[in-house]
């Protein structure tokens, strides 16, 4: 019985519960919310944020942050547009590979500066946020590529469904599952938690901290690259301003999903649920015909609630540990 209820202690439970409650309430008020089209829209809207939030979770778990994701997405989305426009016969899979690698390179710059130069990630990624956005503007200028410039098959990735789930969402879910398994089971994944909890101890323990942190930023870059390609598939135009101001939503999604900002705890699945919650709020509010002006305020309240809940949970865990330790002395 205890182990059955044990799952309630997972950090993901509050955010998943919040999501279910939100969807139910909205559905009761406006049944249109969960028609086939409505569900498809919900899944599609959250796909890109799911991928970005999962990547950000990896970074935050190691006690870093990556504010440049929006700019990275902009660059890779535009690259997608350019590739299809200049080489119309290019196989879609090649575009995926090229842009994902491009994202990985962008992430590697961040990773190098943070892990090797040992400079705080907040500052570095703030700088690359500016620089990558500037490069995006310089490259794109006023040019925008529209859906018509890309092959139909590419655009249909966001339209066609498999078992009711859009293809791009399936891609995101597969990636999510792989990441979750890695983080829970693989050596590298567990190392990240150790690094985030206590970097000095992790180093002493023999964990290759520098290599792991570099890898995490590269992974985040790869995911941002993938998100950029999917963005180009889903939305109409890609240009110089694609992805601006996305970073707040991404970090918010991770925090709301239970990833502690100080590192060391949280899961990619939690971050993904947080991403779905945040995108669902926008649609919910419109479906409920609530003034859309409340949306951002609600997001703010959610973030604060998430961290307060997290704090309460960690205080209770700490107290329990203290008591149990004392008892076993």
């Amino acid at each position: 019985m205890r182990s059955a209820l044990g799952f309630l202690r997972f950090r993901e439970v509050p955010v998943a519960a919040a999501l279910i409650v939100l969807v139910l309430v909205t559905f009761l008020v406006n049944p249109q919310f969960l028609t086939a089209q409505g569900v498809k829209d919900l899944l599609l809207n959250s796909t890109i944020l799911i991928i970005l939030a999962a990547g950000q979770a990896l970074v935050i778990i190691t006690r870093n942050v990556d504010l440049s994701v929006g700019s990275m997405l902009g660059l890779t989305a535009y690259a997608t547009g350019v590739l299809f426009a200049r080489a119309p016969e290019i196989p879609i899979i090649a575009v995926f590979v090229i842009c994902i690698v491009f994202g990985g390179l962008l992430g590697a710059v961040n990773g190098l500066l943070v892990s090797v130069a040992k400079v705080p990630a907040l500052v570095i990624t703030l700088g690359t946020l500016y620089i990558y956005r500037g490069l995006n503007n310089a490259w794109a200028g006023g040019k925008q590529y529209f859906a018509g410039d890309r092959p139909d098959a590419f655009g249909r990735l966001s339209v066609d469904t498999f078992l009711g789930v859009p293809i791009i969402t399936l891609i995101a879910l597969v990636i999510l599952v792989l990441l979750a398994i890695y983080m829970a089971g693989a050596r590298g994944g567990r190392d990240l938690y150790a690094i985030g909890s206590e970097p000095a101890a992790a180093e002493l323990f023999g964990i290759p901290v520098t290599r792991r942190i570099f890898a995490v930023f590269v992974a985040n870059g790869l995911l941002a690259g993938l998100a950029g390609v999917l963005y180009a598939s889903r939305f109409n135009s890609v240009g110089a301003t694609t992805g601006s101001a996305l970073e707040l939503d991404v970090v918010a999604a991770a925090v709301v999903g239970g990833v502690a900002i100080f590192g060391g705890s949280g899961t990619v699945v939690g971050a993904a649920i947080g991403a779905v919650l945040l995108t669902t709020i926008t649609s919910s509010l419109t479906a409920l015909r609530v003034d859309k002006f409340w949306q951002q305020a609600i997001v703010g309240v959610l973030i604060l609630t998430a961290i307060i809940v997290d704090r309460i949970a960690s205080i209770r865990t700490a107290r329990k540990l203290r008591i149990s330790e004392a008892r076993h002395v």
Partner: protein
């Protein structure tokens, strides 16, 4: 004592910086290059090199790029020595001010501006005028007291009427419709919406058409896309959407054409032929309207030249030539109209390339 020494050092540092700043201003005050006072002369008569700068609402917007193309070509034809384009990367009210200030300092003869907010840019424009510059507003007006003339692409009322006419045709004369606009403060948008609402209320042909919602996509592709989604969820009986902004109509077109509403919900508004071509061809959009944006830029440039030359002052009744587009007259509220709108549909959309 270390403390006093430190205090002295810091004070010295501050004093030095302030002194340098003072020095800079003193230098500037004394030897001001062809800056302020003389640009008044630049406005006064031929023989001076005239310069013109365009400040759109935001750079990297395809519609704006066409307008600016026409504007720069027009400026060259009209005889300006220099034509520049500056602007913010994101449409915000306050960001345009620093660009206006830079132009004031540069002594530009004519500033052509599309305002993100009719009042926020006012004081800066006033300062530019005090320095002798002529202000031409285009595309999106400023408050009238801050500009000499406003170039309007078409008669505002006509733009509104043609859109209500199109939507009424496409939904069969009755049903619920919604408007997906750009930013909530954009002057031109609000004017057109006002006329549309009036038309829907007063015109007996539209008595069965109900306007149920107005949403704003902020001229952002993603946001407009999501607003379109929201509309269809919130109003399941929606039969038509009017989007009087090229970004909005393109985003809505993309959403509709990839959803079950394709062909069932009518979409019309103001759009660029190049962006809308695929949606017209696949049946999502039957007909929409616009004008030739390049002409807007051209008339603005010629108007600027006429003002700078002193040929017109912008008052009602003034006439000037807009190059090969012919003569234009300044109308009520110092507004100049470029021309009538054009309707685009499957028959003629391939004839246009912008």
């Amino acid at each position: 004592m270390a403390l006093t020494r430190r205090l002295r050092r810091i004070a010295a540092g501050i004093a030095a910086t302030t002194a340098l700043a003072m020095l800079a201003t003193a230098c500037g005050g004394g030897a001001e290059p062809e800056g302020t006072a003389t640009s008044g002369g630049g406005g006064g008569g031929g023989g001076e090199d005239l310069t013109i700068t365009f400040i759109p609402k935001q750079l990297n917007n395809p519609y704006t790029d066409v307008v600016l193309g026409g504007g720069k070509a027009g400026a060259e034809a009209a005889g300006f020595a220099e034509a520049e384009v500056v602007g913010p990367l994101e449409a915000s009210a306050s960001s345009q001010v620093s660009f206006i200030n830079a132009e004031t300092q540069a002594g530009t003869s004519v500033i052509v501006i599309a305002a993100n907010d009719p009042d926020a840019v006012g004081p800066a424009l006033q300062e530019a005028r005090d320095g002798g510059a002529k202000i031409v507003a285009f595309d999106s007006d400023t408050a009238p007291q801050y500009r000499d003339v406003f170039i309007s692409q078409v008669v505002a009322k006509d733009v509104a009427l043609i859109q209500t006419e199109l939507i009424a045709e496409q939904i069969g004369g009755s049903g619920e419709i919604a408007i997906l606009s750009a930013t909530a403060n954009a002057t031109n948008q609000n004017e057109w919406i006002k006329f549309m609402e009036e038309d829907l209320k007063t015109n007996p042909k539209y008595k069965d058409i109900k306007l149920v919602a107005k949403v704003y996509g902020d001229d952002d592709d993603t946001k407009s896309f999501q607003e379109a989604q929201g509309l269809l969820q919130a109003y399941p009986n929606l039969k038509g959407i009017i989007s009087p902004t090229t970004v909005g109509i393109a985003a809505t077109g993309r959403y509709l054409s990839t959803s079950k509403y394709k062909g069932k919900v009518a979409l019309t508004g103001l759009g660029l032929p190049n962006e809308m071509r695929e949606y017209v061809k696949d049946g999502t959009v039957k007909e929409f309207a616009l004008w030739d944006p390049a002409q807007l830029g051209q008339v603005a440039a010629w108007a600027g030249k006429a003002l700078a030359d002193g040929a017109i002052t912008g008052k009602v009744g003034d006439k000037f030539t807009a190059g090969d587009l012919g003569e234009r007259t300044v109308g009520e509220n110092n507004i100049v109209i470029v021309g009538p709108p054009t309707r685009f549909n499957a028959d003629n959309i391939d004839d246009y390339d912008f």
